[in-house]
């Protein structure tokens, strides 16, 4: 094993003794010096997670969160120096983390917070003006084959819990009471420089998903008939979610 392999392995596993051959000039126990590196690695990674998952932290308390994040860090050290990517699968870990089972919605709140990080750093794109969207949609010959291009930051989440309500309750002080057990869908996007989180209906979730997958607008409208289309399109326009309306060639 190379010097740095030993060092790295001992950093991530506190049960291991510190590697041999380390010196403290004053003769202090090298374990106490190695502990500084171990603590730097562990606490910097836990801090990175705590920064990215503030509501998850509030839901379980700081102490529990740091304990849980510590177990995660030891099982899933970063694979990239880009720390905004770290913890992308933290929600999956939380779902399997037995001691957190008492907060069944915790993993979905983590998913929602992760989507906000992704939306915040997603590529920039110029939204289409409301006037232009309305103009194109009102032209019957064009509208029939239009495909909607969404802002690159747009993300969707489907949850059996009231994930948006839970998240929103934690944006206020004091914390607002919430009822977690109502299925809810979230739409996350960056509007200008601000990340926004909206609760959307099941129908809207399915509709937007199908448009993201490339279904032309008219086909999506035919498929999801129980949808308040005007309301939904109004919301998407207001939140600057639409960046393009592309006219599709009909291939049949």
């Amino acid at each position: 094993m190379s010097r740095q392999s030993e060092f790295a392995a001992a950093l991530l596993d506190p049960r291991q003794a510190c590697p041999p051959g380390l010196i403290s000039a004053n003769g202090a126990d090298s374990e106490s010096r190695f502990a500084v590196y171990r603590n730097n690695v562990l606490s910097s990674l836990i801090n990175a997670l705590a920064d990215n998952y503030p509501v998850v932290t509030q839901l379980v308390g700081e102490e529990f969160f740091r304990g849980m994040a510590g177990v995660y860090v030891q099982s899933a050290a970063p694979r990239s120096p880009i720390m905004s990517d770290y913890g992308a699968d933290f929600s999956g870990f939380i779902e399997r983390f037995e001691p957190a089972a008492g907060v069944p919605y915790l993993a979905d709140v983590a998913r929602l917070e992760r989507l906000q990080i992704e939306a915040g750093h997603a590529a920039d794109a110029q939204p289409m003006s409301a006037e232009r969207v309305v103009e194109l949609l009102s032209c019957p010959t064009l509208a029939a084959h239009l495909k909607i291009a969404f802002h690159p930051s747009l993300r969707l989440l489907k949850s059996p819990f009231a994930v948006v309500t839970i998240w929103a309750a934690h944006q206020q002080k004091p914390l607002v009471a919430f009822e977690p057990r109502a299925a809810q869908n979230a739409l996350v996007l960056r509007n200008g420089l601000d990340v926004e989180v909206l609760a959307i209906s099941h129908g809207a979730h399915a509709f937007i998903t199908s448009l993201q997958q490339g279904l032309p607008l008219t086909a999506a409208i035919e498929r999801y008939t129980d949808l308040d289309l005007e309301h939904l399109l109004g919301r998407l326009i207001r939140h600057q979610a639409i960046t393009g309306l592309l006219s599709e060639q009909v291939t049949q």
Binding site: S2, R3, Q4, S5, F7, A8, L11, L12, G21, L22, I23, S24, A25, N26, G27, A28, D29, S30, E31, S32, R33, F34, V36, Y37, N40, V41, S44, L45, A48, A77, P78, R79, S80, P81, I82, M83, S84, G120, H121, A122, A123, D124, A125, P152, S153, R190, L193
Partner: protein
């Protein structure tokens, strides 16, 4: 090694004080336009596709010189450099045209794992050759001169055959890179390893200094109950570090100086006061014959 510079046309940071740019200060910087020599950013924070980080850095870059400071290249690593990461750095350099690019004499990645800390390396002939190869590779692929930062360390290695300032001196001599003199790191390491900071400073090739870092440290104790200083960038700059900075400036002359604060970030005004203190010492150093 000679390199065609890929950095901004004025390829030096002004010999003034600068601050690390924190997201919580984006607005204030744009609104108040503080009188500072430059801003410094951690390259890895800007390795994202879009959004507010690029928006604000783009606007601030229009008004200030920029220092790009990497924390993830792992120049002291046993393995090869991550060429994907080098490409990301090249993209940032091309986009923002910083006046300076710097990295650390440390390692932070091993195999596929990134450890998010600046880890120490043994100083021997093999590691010297490897670090020089890595610095050559960085400078040729980024087409710029690298400033290499002296590390803060908490232990040393039995197999080391060179002391740190001589190791750094050799890297600078062989690769033509510059020195990012972190005065706080000099102080922290010297206390931790029972060395005299002045002797350490005198052994460094200070004529190659392209930038200076100043920061605060945390106090801990080791198993003997002796002072163990932690480079946590979370406190005001200590008096001992200011004094050492003055001594360094007497040797280097005025050099761009960064006030680093990454933890317990105080109000912007508090950081500005430290920058002004550094500027007073810079002016004094410039006035000296």
């Amino acid at each position: 090694m000679s390199t065609a510079l890929f950095l901004a046309t004025d390829t030096r940071l002004p010999p003034r004080a600068g601050l690390g740019l924190k997201a919580e200060h984006f607005h204030e910087v744009l609104q108040t336009q503080p009188d500072l020599g430059f801003f410094e950013v951690h390259a890895e924070n800007y390795m994202v596709a879009g959004g507010p980080f690029h928006h604000y850095l783009g606007r601030i870059r229009e008004q200030y010189p920029l220092s790009l400071h990497g924390v993830g290249l792992s120049i002291g690593g046993e393995g090869p450099l991550d060429v994907t990461h080098l490409r990301r750095l090249a993209t940032l350099i091309e986009r923002y045209q910083p006046q300076s690019f710097s990295e650390h004499l440390a390692w932070s990645s091993h195999g596929p794992v990134f450890l998010n800390d600046l880890l120490p390396l043994a100083y021997d002939q093999a590691s010297l050759d490897r670090v020089c190869e890595h610095v050559d590779q960085v400078q040729s692929s980024l087409k710029c001169r690298l400033l290499l930062e002296n590390p803060a360390t908490y232990l040393t290695f039995e197999e080391s055959t060179l002391d740190e300032p001589h190791f750094i001196g050799e890297v600078i001599r062989r690769t033509g890179c510059g020195l990012l003199l972190d005065v706080n790191n000099v102080y922290v390491s010297c206390i931790n390893h029972s060395r005299d900071p002045q002797v350490y400073l005198d052994a460094l090739p200070l004529q190659a200094t392209g930038e200076i870092h100043l920061a605060g440290f945390a106090e801990d104790a080791d198993s003997l109950g002796e002072r163990l200083l932690i480079d946590d960038h979370g406190a005001p700059i200590a008096n001992e570090v200011w004094q050492l900075y003055r001594k360094a400036l007497a040797r280097t002359g005025p050099v761009a100086t960064l006030i680093e604060r990454d933890n317990h970030v105080p109000a912007f005004e508090v950081l500005l006061a430290e920058a002004r203190q550094a500027e007073r010492l810079l002016s004094a150093a410039g006035a000296r014959p």
